[in-house]
Amino acid sequence: MLKARGLTKRYGDTEVVRGLDLNVRRGECFGLLGPNGAGKTTTLRLLLGLIEPDGGSIELAGIAVPRHAREARMKVGVVPQMDNLDPDFSVRENLLAYGRYFGMEKAAIAARVPELLEFAGLSNKADAQISQLSGGMKRRLTLARALVHDPDILFLDEPTTGLDPQARHLIWQGLRRLIADGKTIVLTTHFMDEAERLTDRLAILDHGRVVAEGAPRALIESHIEPVVVEVYGEGMEDWTRTHASQVCQRYETVGETLFCYTDSADTVIAALKHAPALRYLHRPSSLEDVFLKLTGRDLRD
């Protein structure tokens, strides 16, 4: 459904995307993860043919991009990171106007509007102004707008950033419905739980390259020990010096927390019994641990 080979993009002297390969299959939900500045948004813009790559090839819905980007975008719906609904139009008019950009007849769009409003949970807001909508409603309308021309593939750039938990769940519910309908979805996200929950496969990007790719569970299994014990509190440094290398298979300290990775937490917890001042959290390893291992723990600004 989407293929990219050896994609590169430079802005001045900085290479933002450096030889990126991607392969998204039909009907799949594919995640693009990466710290800020890893090249996620640039990659999306390249895939849509909004900017021209300096090298590499893209095939989107079987169409060469950017050469035939117009034709390709006929089959793609986009939910951008920043809401850009048309504030001069009501909810319904936003859908009508957007359909026209795809060359649809007014009657054909109007016939789709009730279904789209129902999907967005905005049936009773059809005539509301955009400024009257909450953040979650706006995002749902943006998602419905991206579906106006019934695309095969959807691009979502951080679809739930800035939303409260209830609103996030509604978006997830909508996306699962689309996946069940057979749509292909490509999404970028900062939220590891979102990626674990929604995606069939994902790629972790760093410095414009794919550093790992696979199903979320498979990535966790292949990159990380199954269990993590997070240790923190007074005396953590001393304990790390004296015990960490003996009881952990691998460990890292970040700020005032020790991350102790292991196959079994029993020995770690037994050792911690003798250090009552320390507190700890014992949990299965997650995608976030993979992400932090591969992209480092330093702050990206």
Partner: protein, 261 residues
């Protein structure tokens, strides 16, 4: 910078952009018409009658007629300029409407052609309103001749729409547009024979005036009002087309660069 330049690829996809602006305008049509049109008309009638009664013929015609012909060009210029400056800037920069549209199968070329053609439509509206006053007050020589003012008005809208889009591409905020008005538009109004004949200017300024687009607009509009065939029609038409097209092409390159950042 050079690689942002390329010839515009025009397509009919600009039509829904035009239509979008039209539908929004329609919602606020009455206050918009009053706001856009009352102002130049008040100036024209106030100065035309008030000042005109003190003056002998200006440029071989009553001052009100002289001023009315200038106002056709001047209000058309203003309508197009305001549209592509403040309104287009809102849609491009503040509301991000252009971004949304370009996720559909439209390119920047289409979006900006839509904006330009909408500026032409607003100019037509503005020019027609002044023309209606000219007809109503019987300020014209030959009625049929005045109909040629309609395409002239569209051309003037195209010219200043294209030029204004360059400012739109360069502007960091609304405040920036004030420079354009103070340094370009206002001097042009004074140098191009809107309020008084260019022949009143010192020779140096007269030769500057000959290069300014508004001069070409006035030189087409004024004879048509009075009922004469304008001199050097081809020169004026080509000049207005050139300013507008060049503006559009440069604005396209500058906007392409801007939106990449």
């Amino acid at each position: 910078m050079t690689h942002f330049f390329r010839l515009p690829r025009l397509s009919w996809r600009f039509v829904p952009v035009w239509q979008r602006n039209y539908l929004v305008w329609k919602k606020l049509a009455i206050p918009s018409i009053l706001g856009n049109l009352a102002d130049p008309m008040l100036y024209m009638l106030g100065l035309g009658y008030g000042l005109g009664s003190l003056l002998p013929d200006v440029g071989g015609m009553p001052y009100l007629t002289f001023l009315a012909a200038g106002t056709v060009a001047y209000s058309t210029m203003n309508a197009a300029t305001f549209e592509v400056l403040y309104s287009s800037f809102s849609r491009m920069h503040v509301q991000r409407t252009w971004d949304a549209i370009m996720n559909a199968p439209l390119t920047l070329d289409d979006v900006m052609l839509g904006e330009l053609s909408w500026a032409v439509a607003k100019s037509l509206l503005s020019g027609l309103a002044i023309l209606a006053v000219i007809w109503g007050l019987g300020l014209y020589g030959h009625f049929w001749m005045t109909l040629w003012i309609i395409p002239v008005v569209a051309l003037v809208g195209f010219c200043f729409g294209g030029m204004g889009l360059v400012m739109n591409a360069l502007s960091p905020s609304y405040d920036f547009f004030l420079y354009y008005f103070t340094l370009v538009i206002t001097p042009m109004v004074l140098l191009c024979g809107v309020f008084f004949p260019v022949s009143q200017l010192p020779p140096l300024l007269q030769s500057v005036s000959a290069w300014l687009p508004l001069t070409h607009a006035v030189n087409l509009a004024r004879p048509l009002v009075v009922g004469n065939v304008p001199d050097s029609i081809a020169l004026h038409v080509v000049a207005l087309l050139a300013y507008g097209s060049l503006g559009y092409v440069i604005a396209l390159a500058l906007t392409r660069r801007r939106l990449l950042k």
